[in-house]
Amino acid sequence: MFNALQGWLSIFLWDWLAILMTLVLQVVIVVLPIMIAVAFLTLAERKVIGFMQVRMGPNRVGPNGILQPFADALKLIMKEFVRPQQSNLYLFIIAPVLALAPVVAAWAVIPFGEGAVVSDINVGVMYVLAVSSIVVYGVIIAGWASNSKYAFLGALRASAQKVSYEIAMGFALVTVLMVAGSMNLTEIVHGQQGGFWNWYWIPLLPMLAVYFISGLAETNRTPFDVVEGEAEIVAGFHVEYSSMGFGVFMLAEYAMMVLISFMTAIMFLGGWYSPFENIPVLDPLTAWIPGFIWLFLKVAFLLFLFLWFRATFPRYRYDQLMRLGWKVLIPLTIVWVFVVGVMHYFSIGPWFN
C-alpha cells in the first residue's frame, strides 16, 4: 500500500520528498494509536489500583471517568512552564524530548501482525535494545540541568540502575536469538508458530522472568522506582519540571511500558499467533479473530501485570536492587545461555528443530 503511495507521489514530486512523506505518514499511523493507548493506560492504572484498594478511581470526567486522561493532559498543557533560575536552559528543555524520542523511535521495528511493520530490519531486537538504551540520557540530562540536589541524586540512581539492568536484558535477548536463530522480530514470531506449546516462554521461562523484571527496572516502575523515590528525594529527576515538561516524562515512561510489553509478547508469548492453534475444538471456533487482537490481548495482560505490581509490592532498597541485578539476574542469564546451547545440541522439543 505504501509502496503504491510512494510511487504515485514520486510522479509529481522529487524522489526523496516522496519517500520522506511516505515515512512520515507511516510514523503517524504507528505513533498516534500508541499515544492514545498511553493516555488510556494512565486511566487504566488509576482504575486498577483504585479497585485493588477498594475505591472507585477517577469517575467524574465523562462516563465512568473515561475522559480523565484528556482532562489531565489539558491541565498539564495549560499550566505554566517554570524554569529554575540556575538551570541550563537548552539541556533543561531538551531532556524531556530525549526521554520520549527514543521510545517512539523504537516502534519502527515492532511488528503488529503479519507484515504490519514500518521497517522490517534484520537486527530488530538489537535496534530496540540500542534505542531504548538512549532513553537514560533524558533522565541524566534532566537531573543535571535542573541544578538541584534531589534531581541530581535521582539522575545518578537512574543511570546506575538502567545500565545494570540493561546487561541482564541483553543476555535474556541473547537466549531468544539462540532459540529463534534470527534477530528479525517477524522471524522470531514465525519461529513460535503452532500453538501454545511452541512459544518460547517454555524453554526460556527464567528468561521471561528476567526480561520482565529488567523491563520493570528500565521503566522505573514499582518496585524499582527508587529513581523517583518520593519518600527520599521528592520526585527524583523530574522534581523541577512543571506542566508539559513533566507530562512528556510521564508519556515516555508509559510508552516504554507499552514497548516492553510488546517486546515480551513478541519474543516469549508468540506474538500475534492464537494460543489455540492446533487445538481441535477451540482453533476453528476462534479462527475468525485477527492476529493483532491476540497480540493486543497479550500486551494488555502484561500491562496489567505492571499495574498489579505497582499496587502490590513495596519499593526495593537501593543496594538490594543492585544486588538483584548483578548477583542474581545476570548469572542466571549466563547460565541459561549454556542451558539453551545444550537444548539446541540435543534438539529438544518443538522449539529446536
Binding site: 534484520n122 537486527v123 540500542a130 545518578l156
Partner: protein, 213 residues
C-alpha cells in the same frame, strides 16, 4: 540527489559538527553529550554503509553504556574551568602545530592515496535481505577465532584486575555486612521470642503515698 545521499550528508554533517563541538565546548558534561551525538551520527553513517550490526552495537555499547558511565563521573566532578583555561594563549602555537602535525599524519595514512575509490574499488552492494550479522559471525568464529578468544581472555583479565584493585573487605567490627541467605531464611520465630516471667504485683497506691512522705 537520492534519498540515501540526503540521509548520508545529514548524518555526516551532524557527526563532523558534533565532534568539533565536543573538543571546543567548555563544559565537560556538554562535551560528553556532544560526543554521544557524534557516536549516534557515526552509527547512522555505518548503517547507510550496510553495516547495520556494527552501527547498532556502536550505539548500544558506546552511547548506551560507556558514555553513560563517563557522564556519571564527569557530572560529579567539580572542575574549575578558569584554572583549566590558564595559559591558553601561551600554549596556542604549540597546540596548533601539534594539531596540524597529527592532521598531516592522518591525511597521509587515511587520505585518498590509500583509501580512494581507485584503490579500494566500488563498494559491494548487497540486497536488502543480506545479513551483516551472519557475515561478521562467520568471520569471527572461523578465520579470526584465536584473536577472538584472545580478546575475550584479555577482557576477563581486565575485569579481574579491576575488581582486585577496588575490592576492600573490611573487618566485621568496622563494617556490618549483610548475609542475604540468612536474611531470606529468617522465620517469624527467629524474630519474636516469648519470655516466661513471674507476675509482679505493684504496691498499692496508699503505700506509695506514704513512702513519698
Amino acid at each position: 540527489m537520492t534519498f540515501e545521499q540526503l540521509i548520508f550528508y545529514i548524518l555526516a554533517a551532524i557527526a563532523v559538527i558534533s565532534s568539533l563541538m565536543m573538543i571546543s565546548v567548555n563544559n565537560p558534561v556538554k562535551a560528553a553529550l556532544w560526543l554521544v551525538l557524534a557516536f549516534i551520527a557515526t552509527a547512522g553513517v555505518w548503517i547507510t554503509a550496510q553495516a547495520e550490526f556494527l552501527g547498532i552495537v556502536l550505539i548500544l555499547v558506546y552511547a548506551g553504556a560507556v558514555m553513560v558511565l563517563f557522564l556519571f563521573v564527569v557530572m560529579m566532578l567539580d572542575i574549575n574551568l578558569v584554572k583549566l583555561k590558564e595559559g591558553f594563549i601561551r600554549y596556542l602555537p604549540i597546540g596548533v602545530l601539534a594539531a596540524l602535525g597529527i592532521f598531516a599524519l592522518m591525511y597521509m595514512v587515511l587520505g585518498p592515496n590509500n583509501f580512494g575509490m581507485d584503490v579500494t574499488g566500488e563498494p559491494v552492494r548487497f540486497d536488502a535481505n543480506h545479513s551483516n550479522t551472519t557475515m561478521i559471525g562467520l568471520a569471527l568464529y572461523t578465520v579470526h577465532v584465536y584473536a577472538f578468544i584472545l580478546a575475550a581472555v584479555l577482557l576477563l583479565v581486565g575485569i579481574v584486575a579491576a575488581i582486585a584493585l577496588t575490592i576492600r573487605r573490611r573487618p566485621p567490627h568496622e563494617v556490618k555486612y549483610q548475609n542475604i541467605d540468612k536474611q531470606v531464611k529468617t522465620q517469624a520465630r527467629d524474630r519474636f521470642e516469648m519470655i516466661k516471667m513471674q507476675p509482679v504485683k505493684e504496691k498499692p497506691v496508699e503505700n506509695k503515698k506514704e513512702e513519698d512522705e
